[in-house]
């Protein structure tokens, strides 16, 4: 996953601050204009050879249609029923997986008005179509008693119930909310909203000036609950909005790569310094914030190996968004390792055992740069400040241990802009740790730049049309509606639907970005 794109094309520079770009644009227009709809890749682009299956609504809605004749217990799958029959000492038979090539099957949504009713947009798995049908066309009969949110799919509801009320909404201004609508109302009136757009603007400007290659991955939001695998919620109303995983990578100068301890297998050097900011959601400023503002830590991701480590960790750090900024060769004064990126580990698990690793590299300590606003430490402090009251304390602990901010940086609250000044910047925004596990899945393919692009591109095509703006509120974040299952679905769809895997894919991402300007385009229509 961690991989370096060599180039520094101006065009791609814009994509990294996609939200901000969007924001700036919309700032300029007095009112939202209704744009021409952009064509983009939509979910459900099956293999043309696949067998198309149209199931009736009844079949789709049927739960437990395999019923045991002894005890009337129902099962969703015949296999499960067979296993159950075994308990009754009834004859049972498990279907053997044939090694013969099974023809791929795709499924149509029975709703004629639905986009997935069209065979060309059929969905690739049965569970997916079932959930799609329930979520989009079914009655939302599962209702959370606490917050009155309703779900059509029971697993969504269950996942929600696990987290509802346990989570607090945090505005960038520092205020915490336990209620969603209070938070929404506050958010609309809060000064943080106005400030963010200003910040976004400056970010956008600096980023376009910079010499960066940025990738944007929009990944499904995943809940903290790993064990519950519902795919990402399909309707925005479930509250899970598109989490953004954005990765900006830039190539390292040769002389610095040596420090990176790259695993031999890594095809490309990972950027040497990465500042990762975790937050529980993203906001309009794109890189900062969300639900509660920056909620976590900044740290270095030293190698792709570390990233994979990160991915392998249990996703304790739920709903966090990571922002990795890689400092480039233009800033030699900044020791690339200064932020001691071993804290990736904290990001994923907060496990203290990983921590000492960070401390083993004293040479990585931060050297103050002449320009205060470029200070990585200040960035870190900012994150620490914002995250200080976050519920995700493991992040903070890790952060606190890893950093010894110079006192003279205390006042640089605005230095969050700093990373954009660095020439080579890598931003990794992860919605939460399940995305991290997604990274793990993605790693095998990340050994080549092309496949990385593939990942990027695909995901942007997949999710780019979701109302990501909604997510800036961080409303849906980690509410448990989604899980790793969603991510693997995401990955598999990557392999399905790529049509833009070329090196200029960044530009493609950029075009996805453009669509954000168009409110009418943002309807989530995936699945």
């Amino acid at each position: 996953m961690a991989e370096i794109e060599n180039s520094a094309s101006q065009a791609s520079g814009e994509s990294s601050f996609l939200l901000s770009d969007n924001h700036v644009k919309s700032e300029q227009s007095v009112e939202p204009t209704l744009p021409v709809k952009k064509k983009r890749n939509l979910p459900g682009m099956p293999d043309p050879d696949a067998e198309v299956i149209a199931l009736s609504p009844k079949t789709l809605m049927a739960t437990n249609r395999f019923v045991c004749e002894i005890c009337n217990k129902g099962f969703q799958r015949d296999q499960n029923l067979q296993l159950h029959r075994r308990g009754h000492n009834l004859p049972w038979k498990l279907r053997q997986r044939t090694n013969k090539e099974v023809r791929k099957r795709v499924y149509l949504c029975p709703e004629p008005t639905c986009i997935h009713h069209d065979p060309s947009r059929a969905l690739g798995d049965l569970t997916g179509i079932k959930k799609h049908f329930c979520r989009k066309h079914g009655e939302k009969k599962f209702k959370c008693e606490r917050c009155s949110k309703k779900y059509a799919v029971q697993s969504d509801w269950k996942a929600h119930m696990k987290t509802c009320g346990t989570r607090e909404y945090r505005c960038d201004c520092g205020t915490l909310f336990s209620r969603r609508d209070s938070f929404i109302t506050h958010r609309a009136f809060c000064d943080a909203l106005a400030q963010e757009s200003a910040l976004a603007q400056s970010l956008a400007i600096t980023s376009s000036e910079g010499d960066m290659t940025k990738l944007q991955v929009v990944a499904p939001s995943v809940s903290a609950v790993v064990s519950s695998p519902p795919p990402p919620p399909l309707t925005p109303s479930t509250g899970v909005l598109s989490p953004v995983l954005s990765i900006q990578s830039s190539e390292l100068p040769e002389n610095q790569t040596a420090q990176l301890q790259l695993p031999p297998g890594a095809a490309a050097p990972f950027a040497d310094v990465a500042t990762v900011t975790a937050s529980n959601s993203s906001t309009s400023s794109g890189n900062i914030a969300g639900n509660g503002g920056i909620f976590a830590s900044i740290f270095n991701v030293a190698t792709s190996a570390e990233l994979s480590q990160l991915a392998a960790q249990p996703p304790v750090a739920s709903y966090s968004t990571m922002l990795c900024t890689m400092a480039g060769q233009d800033q030699p004064i900044i020791d690339p390792m200064s932020l001691s990126l071993s804290s990736t580990l904290y990001l994923s698990s907060g496990s203290s055992s990983l921590y000492p690793a960070a401390l083993e590299h004293p040479h990585r300590h931060y050297t103050p740069t002449p320009q205060p606003d470029l200070s990585a430490t200040a960035l870190l402090q900012k994150a620490a400040q914002m995250g200080a009251t976050s519920s995700n304390s493991s992040f903070l602990r890790g952060l606190g241990l890893a950093t010894t901010p110079p006192p003279d940086r205390q006042d640089s609250r605005n230095s969050i802009i700093a990373p954009s000044h660095w020439n080579n910047t890598t931003h990794v925004k992860l919605e939460n740790s399940s995305v991290a596990s997604g990274l793990e899945l993605g790693l095998p393919s990340s050994s080549s730049p092309a496949s990385f692009n593939e990942l990027m591109m695909n995901s942007s095509s997949l999710f780019g049309n979701r109302p990501a703006t909604l997510d800036f509120l961080g409303l849906g974040m980690g509410a448990g509606e989604a899980s790793t299952g969603g991510f693997s679905a995401f990955l598999s769809s990557i392999t399905d639907g790529l049509d833009m895997t070329t090196s200029n894919s960044f530009a493609g991402v950029g075009s996805t970005v453009d669509t954000w300007d168009y409110p009418s385009d943002r309807k989530p229509s995936m699945l």
Binding site: E31, T33, S148, D181, A188, F189, L193, T235, T469, P519
Partner: protein, 512 residues
């Protein structure tokens, strides 16, 4: 307080000149209150006392009272307020030297009166303020000026804007009654309004409204119900227009925007036209304040709509004069837009004279909305001009504002500035109700039954909120402290928010 009674006596002499008297003893008191006041209300006090000092003759030194009253409380069971100031001019006809055992050194100018309320004052759950105030209103209706003076003296001694609920009620209602007697209600009202507008900024307004929502469902109740009804009524429409006549500073709309943005169908275009009413008579009483706030709010709304990805337009219409004079042309209603009208506290802001309220309803009807949502506070505050009518209305006002103050009391922390602002606004409303002419009044609430009658007469039929909305409201109420509940209205006309079994806010939806 001696000032007050000098005024009252003067009035009975028909030689009142209030402006002359108001500053007579001010300077000496100023010191007093600076020394005494170590309370946490400093900031507010200063604001208020300096901004509106010119007309504060009705209750010039609340801090002094506070001080007094705390003394009084610590002395516990002495029913008599202790007066340390004895001015010869204060109601000389009723001076008694007080029993030595009761108090060391004090006059009671109205011993019989204080004894009358002794039980009430010492009782644990007493509502002495209501008792005394009601007696005062009766005395006013009876034109018994001596008794009025005695009672007001008591109220002035006992009341405090910063005390408990009874003290507050005493203080605010005394202010209103006094204005009424002085026939200075309108001026008092204007002064209060302009004082509050002077302190009114986007910041303070936002803080107050949001804090109120955070601690109490009072306004959120209507928002949730109305938004639910509006969204249902406009389902599937691609162009929405909401005409908003409400007093909650657009805090209703972010959640609606969010709901619209996450609707499963195409995000519709939304236009919100907020009508800002400025009383023509009241004129420029700090008129700059609210429009400026609305402008800021408008830009927030636009920003937020962009964030949510809803194509959005926000307009503020400044309407001078009574709402019943609203003209359709002002509103830019378009044929191809599905229209909803949202009235929160709007109907009662129309004066009760003539048939203005029905007129407004007929105007709403002519707009041909898909839906009209109405939120009103459940009270019958049509205070009569005189006599029994007045007493009855006054009594209802006492009941209503006690409930309101109690609800605020249990929701907010004791020293909340936002709460103080809300109470001040209520104080304004009390002056409006008690001391201002009906034709100018913007606070005369009616009951749900009465509004329903008017709306039905105006060609609307009630729409009941669907289960989903009711569920949402119930879920909302669960998050607040105990005491809030939802009651279905009779004949499917809306729902009530109830506070400790008293219906306080009514929300309803209507279709032509």
């Amino acid at each position: 307080m001696d000032t007050l009674f000098r005024l009252v006596s003067l009035q009975s002499d028909q030689s009142l000149n209030s402006s002359r008297t108001s500053s007579s003893s001010r300077s000496s008191r100023q010191n007093l209150y600076q020394q005494e006041d170590e309370e946490c209300f400093n900031i507010f006090m200063d604001d208020e006392d300096f901004s509106s000092s010119s007309s504060k003759h009705y209750n010039p030194y609340p801090h002094h009272q506070l001080h007094h009253h705390q003394q009084h409380h610590t002395a516990s069971n002495t029913p008599t307020p202790t007066t340390t100031t004895t001015t010869g001019s204060a109601t000389p006809t009723h001076q008694h030297v007080y029993d030595q055992s009761a108090d060391q050194f004090s006059y009671s100018p109205a011993r019989d009166v204080t004894l009358e309320f002794a039980a009430s004052l010492s009782g644990q759950n007493s509502r002495w303020a209501s008792d005394i105030l009601l007696e005062t209103a009766k005395a006013i209706a009876d034109r018994n000026s001596t008794r009025v003076q005695q009672l007001m003296w008591m109220l002035n001694e006992l009341g405090s804007l910063y005390g408990d609920i009874d003290q507050k009620l005493a203080s605010y209602f005394l202010q209103a009654l006094f204005s009424r007697m002085m026939d200075s209600g309108e001026r008092t009202y204007r002064t209060l309004i302009s004082a509050s507008e002077k302190n009114c900024s986007f910041d303070s307004t936002r803080k107050m409204v949001l804090k109120f929502q955070e601690v109490s469902p009072w306004t959120m109740f209507g928002h949730v119900a109305c938004n639910g009804a509006i969204i249902e009524a406009l389902e599937g429409e691609s162009k929405l227009h909401i005409i908003d006549i409400s007093n909650t500073f657009c805090t209703q709309w972010p959640t609606l925007l969010e709901a619209i943005a996450t609707r499963s169908d195409e995000t519709p275009h939304l236009r919100i036209t907020t009508i800002l009413v400025s009383k023509s008579g009241g004129a420029n009483g700090g008129a700059a304040g609210v429009p400026k706030v609305m402008k800021e709010i408008g830009s927030r709304m636009e920003k937020f709509a962009r964030l949510m990805g809803v194509p959005f337009k926000f307009n503020v219409i400044h309407h001078a004069g009574d709402l019943s004079e609203l003209s359709l042309a002002e509103l830019d209603i378009k044929e191809d837009e599905a229209l909803a009208i949202n009235c929160v506290g709007a109907l009662h802001s129309v004066a009760t004279v003539g048939n203005r309220r029905d007129l407004l309803i007929s105007i709403l009807r002519r707009m041909q909305p898909r839906i009209v949502t109405v939120v009103e506070e459940e009270a019958d505050l049509d205070i009569g001009v005189d006599g029994l009518e007045f007493v009855r209305g006054f009594q209802e006002s006492l009941r209503w504002f006690r409930v309101y103050f109690e609800a605020l009391d249990e929701s907010f922390p004791k020293t909340s500035n936002e709460r103080l602002m809300l109470e001040r606004a209520a104080g304004c409303a009390i002056v409006d109700l008690v001391a201002c002419p009906q034709a100018e009044s913007v606070e005369r609430r009616e009951t749900a039954a009465r509004w329903s009658h008017r709306l039905q007469g105006g060609g609307f039929r009630p729409v009941s909120f669907n289960e989903e909305v009711s569920d949402d409201v119930r879920a909302l109420l669960r998050r607040y402290k105990d005491g809030w509940s939802m009651i279905q209205g009779s004949d499917s006309t809306g729902i009530f928010l109830s506070w400790k079994d008293q219906p306080v806010v009514w929300a309803s939806a209507w279709k032509p």
